[in-house]
Symmetry: none
């Protein structure tokens, strides 16, 4: 009983946070999964940056959004899939026919590229999301910045592909983490594991390196194989 009552007030706090036009605009803007800066969100919210700052603080306080500082920018993104789910539930009530997050495939692939020694761009973001959904990787509970670990299931799967997870883990560098993508503004897989995966993808000719740039192109083989193995929609 007591727990129920406290949950009610928690819900009302959260709903009140959503229930303000400027904040709703911010949340629905972030619903595409892309991170944005405070000034960008001020524009979509149609308020001044100072007002937006207050709103963003409130949303963060209710764990509806999270912030990641990078240089002098602060990138805001949705608090997680649960937040998206809750917003969708409200959308259904609002009578809105909800658009089913359908990115056009060829456009996404054009932005595949390498970031130091691992993949970046839309392809990398998609793979990152699929690895998470398949539970091959998992966010580390420790609040250190966006670290991942490989699950037991994932270790077998990566090994079957030909990725030496143990070797990657024993390196002195960071093992695996969510690296924020500049173009997509969503995380992709970085660290030793990300590097090992890129090297494997090149070896298997799933992707090819451009000769004079960091651009990567997905081969027909790669499209087929990655689609079948990860369910990646390429």
């Amino acid at each position: 009983m007591h727990a129920v009552a406290s949950e009610e007030i928690a819900v009302s706090r959260i709903a009140a946070a959503i229930g303000e036009a400027a904040r709703a605009r911010i949340l629905y803007c972030l619903l595409d999964g892309h991170a944005r800066t405070g000034t960008e969100l001020a524009i979509v919210a149609e308020v001044t940056p100072s007002t937006a700052s207050v709103h963003l603080n409130k949303l963060r306080q209710e764990r509806l959004i999270q912030v990641q500082a990078q240089g002098r920018h602060r990138y805001y993104s949705l608090g997680g899939p649960r937040v998206a789910r809750a917003l969708e539930g409200l959308s259904v009530l609002a009578g809105g026919t909800h658009k089913a997050f359908v990115p056009s495939a060829p456009a996404r692939l054009r932005t595949a590229r390498s970031c130091y020694d691992h993949m970046a761009g839309a392809l990398a973001v998609e793979l990152h999301d699929r690895f998470l959904a398949l539970r091959w990787i998992k966010a580390e509970p420790g609040r250190n910045n966006h670290a991942y670990d490989v699950t037991v299931m994932g270790a077998q799967a990566f090994a079957a592909l030909g990725v030496d997870v143990d070797a990657a883990r024993s390196m002195r560098r960071r093992f695996a983490y969510g690296c924020l993508d500049w173009s997509e503004r969503r995380p992709h897989l970085g660290g030793a594991l990300g590097a090992a995966f890129l090297s494997l993808s090149l070896k298997k000719r799933w992707v090819d390196r451009d000769l004079d740039s960091r651009a990567l192109s997905v081969t027909a083989l790669g499209r087929r194989e990655m689609g079948a193995r990860f369910g990646a929609e390429l």
Copy 2:
């Protein structure tokens, strides 16, 4: 763009309607499906009848509740399952931290049960979520109620388990849809496919039927197998 903007304000109006402590108490009281009178709701909302009347009007205006006059009483009830679903989404957010930090959950398994001919309860909801994440099933784009289809990848996977997807599809009944779970208030897999999966789970002894009730119990084998195959956290 314009449609998106109008949806945002509709959502913020609805969220604002929920985002008030007294109204949230009313809605959560009605979540059990029972209709109640205005005075009863005034008591649970901890306000005077006059204040409650204003709140009830507002909730009705946003279609969150409906009223049914009967003599000199007016019975208020939730606006429908969609409202329950939206409230559930917000509850998940409110209790999200609590839920995230309880990984091993024998308590969750206790709520496994059958619903007509398919699984329901926490186990079924978890499996439903995993099937979606693994992209074995996919929401039908058509706006008909929560229909699912099996993906190419999913068809292979279900066949490998021993589920005859084609047979399920050719039945005269509904193939697959998200059935709203009243205890979990989240969807689980219903329809011919859900029935086929339950029958398979019983055959493989992943779950056992209680003799005199609709309760299901997950066997040690089922815990192991479903964890390994679907990544379900049981």
